[in-house]
């Protein structure tokens, strides 16, 4: 096991595309770090460079004190689970698990013991003599995990390993992966575009966009204090609502005014507020925005009743705002509503949404 250090890592492809720009990051030993971002954000490119499957254009990669960016994948002592599972289709499950051990020169008896141990842990013993094509998606996924876990490695890399599973199996495997991580304590780097996976599994999240680092932090930090509009909008479902607003001082109290609501900031929050122009971008999460039936600027467009809660979409001019409401909230389409917001729950960004101006909510 080892820590991973990325120093000013940059990747430009042959066609000139800048896939990753100047990423520096320190991942501690035994940490579970998730790279999160939309397609093309550079998360898989970063993982592939850590694995040695792509070479960085600039920068360095270190495992502990050992520089590895010039080494072949085989020499890095990593294990990797691919999105496609990448099982060897002409080998049985047993031979798939055996392959990395054979390559590392693990001898017969120890090899068999390790395979048996891994198979028992992942409950794939009855599958050992089957070919990958005879397995379901979930079983293939387990075998792919097993192949990565069967030997001791410094760093464990996972490239969207759950994205091909159905929702139920995905939730199940998510929990199993966390348990495996707690049990073995490998340094894990996990790539996903699914924020739920990132939020629930990792000790720290790295949010990327267009090859640029947006934010590094614990899931709690990223959710409650997103660094900019992109992170705020990407993490959380349904996504955060954004409204243009103004900071206005009135009778010694600083108010945040938007079209549908205004809130007064407490002295404590005011003290946290970074100095900037009075025009700002105000973000508020659907669970922090309350609706009251009555004469107001909003008109209910749709109420999605999910059983345990309702998601209410409200039209406000050209914009649509999303609110979480109680399961039986007395709201219906075409109803006029007022908006209420808690001053401690509003996120304030600069007008372009590039920078957060206030502390965590």
């Amino acid at each position: 096991m080892a820590s991973v250090t990325l120093q000013a890592l940059r990747k430009r492809f042959l066609d000139g595309t800048l896939a990753l720009n100047d990423l520096s990051l320190q991942i501690a030993d035994q940490e579970f770090v998730t790279f999160l971002g939309p397609s093309g954000c550079g998360k898989t490119t970063t993982l592939r460079m850590i694995a040695g499957l792509d070479n960085p254009t600039d920068g360095q990669i270190l495992f502990g004190a050992r520089r590895v960016d010039q080494l072949t994948p085989a020499a890095r002592n990593i294990a990797m689970v691919f999105q496609s599972y990448a099982l060897y289709p002409h080998m049985t499950v047993r031979r798939n698990l055996e392959y990395p051990l054979r390559k590392r020169g693990v001898t017969g008896k120890e090899r068999d013991e390790r395979i048996a141990r891994t198979a028992a842990l992942l409950k794939i013993e009855p599958l050992l003599d089957r070919l990958p094509r005879q397995l379901s998606g979930g079983q293939q996924q387990r075998v792919a995990l097993g192949r990565a876990m069967v030997r001791d490695c410094d760093v464990f890399l996972l490239d969207e390993p759950l994205s091909n599973l159905d929702a139920e199996l995905r939730a199940h495997m998510r929990a199993e992966l966390v348990q495996l991580y707690r049990r073995f304590g490998h340094t894990m780097i996990y790539v996903t575009h699914d924020q739920a996976e990132a939020m629930t599994m990792s000790t720290r999240m790295v949010v990327l966009r267009g090859g640029e680092l947006q934010q590094v932090g614990t899931p709690d930090e990223v959710y409650h204090a997103p660094a900019n509009r992109f992170v705020a909008g990407f993490v959380g479902s349904p996504a955060m609502n954004f409204l243009p607003g103004d900071l206005v001082e009135e009778a010694g109290v600083l108010q945040v005014r938007t079209q549908p609501f205004k809130v007064s900031l407490s002295d404590q929050r005011r003290a946290e507020l970074a100095k900037g122009a009075p025009s700002v971008l105000v973000g508020i999460r659907p669970e922090d925005l309350r609706l009251e039936p009555g004469d107001g600027p909003g008109r209910v467009v749709l109420v999605e009743r999910l059983g345990h809660e309702s998601i209410v979409w409200v039209g406000l001019g050209d914009q649509r705002l999303c609110c979480r409401a109680a399961a039986q909230a007395p709201l219906a389409a075409d109803q006029s509503v007022r908006f209420l917001a808690d001053a401690n729950r509003v996120h304030i960004f600069d007008a372009e949404g590039m920078r957060r101006l206030i502390g965590r909510c």
Partner: protein, 277 residues
């Protein structure tokens, strides 16, 4: 319901007509090869030999240089196949996996050479082979066959290797294999149906080739089957059809046997279900 059945019956009839039209010459070849000489031209002709005999085969194997031609054909066929497939599989892998300037241009130029008529290359190749001192040798034929089998083999294998997900190779490299080991242990087994079909194509091309073998080889000891059998039979003024048919049967055997052994590999796709997404 009745219309459906009539349609099915007509369809079956049409298929059987085509099958019989294709199979009849082969059947006639076998039947004639098993007839004694006086029955070959009997009128009315007999569909099956009345007195079946292996006499023609015995004559062919004992009184003619057929076995020499046969062995020569096997040597040329196997050497050409091994050479072509070895080079093509590596070349196809390089064209698919490595990024380098002019990659597509090279791939298309290779195909362009295949588009040239074989007869156009006959004389230049003959001159080159002669200057290399390989005229009248099997090695000369192997080189000549390689020149026109290789481009096609390269393209055929390229399409098979393109279909192999790169993830598997990368997984092997992460697991501790070098690129070459990953190629041998992961890519080759996946490309096996392609390698087998390319091998069959190359072997059959070499086995049946007449023009180059006729021009390049002028000594009986180095002749392959197609020109060998023809010159052997032309030496007599009257063509011995029964003997010719026996030779044709024996010439068909290796191809038929090879094909029937390997055909299951041609259709079997190892890759199905191994990679998701």
């Amino acid at each position: 319901m009745i219309r459906q059945r009539i349609g099915l019956a007509l369809y079956n009839l049409a298929v059987w007509v085509v099958v019989l039209a294709i199979a009849f010459p082969l059947f006639w070849m076998l039947s004639t090869a098993l007839k004694p000489n006086d029955e070959t031209f009997a009128l009315p002709p007999t569909l099956l030999p009345v007195h079946p005999t292996l006499e023609q085969f015995q004559r062919l194997l004992t009184e003619t240089p057929f076995t020499t031609f046969f062995v020569n054909s096997v040597i040329v066929g196997l050497c050409t196949t091994v050479l072509v497939v070895s080079v093509a599989v590596l070349g196809a892998y390089g064209l698919v996996r490595f990024r380098f300037p002019g990659r597509e241009l090279i791939a298309h130029l290779v195909l362009f050479t295949y588009l040239l008529p074989a007869v156009l290359l006959l004389l230049p190749l003959y001159l080159i082979i002669s200057r290399l001192g390989l005229a009248n040798s099997l090695a000369g034929l192997v080189i000549a066959y390689t020149t026109f089998a290789l481009p096609f083999a390269l393209w055929l294998l390229r399409s098979f290797i393109v279909a192999i997900p790169i993830d598997m190779e990368e997984a092997a490299m992460v697991d501790g294999a070098s690129r070459m080991r990953a190629f041998v242990e992961v890519v080759i087994p996946q490309a096996l149906p392609g390698i087998i079909s390319t091998s069959l194509f190359t072997f059959i091309m070499s086995w049946n080739e007449y023009l180059y073998a006729m021009v390049f080889i002028n000594v009986d000891t180095s002749k392959t089957l197609p020109p060998g059998v023809l010159t052997m039979l032309n030496q007599n003024q009257n063509v011995e059809w029964a003997l010719l048919m026996a030779a044709s049967v024996l010439m068909s055997v290796p191809v038929l046997v090879g094909f029937s052994f390997l055909q299951s590999h041609l259709t079997r796709g190892f890759g199905s279900g191994a990679v998701k997404g």
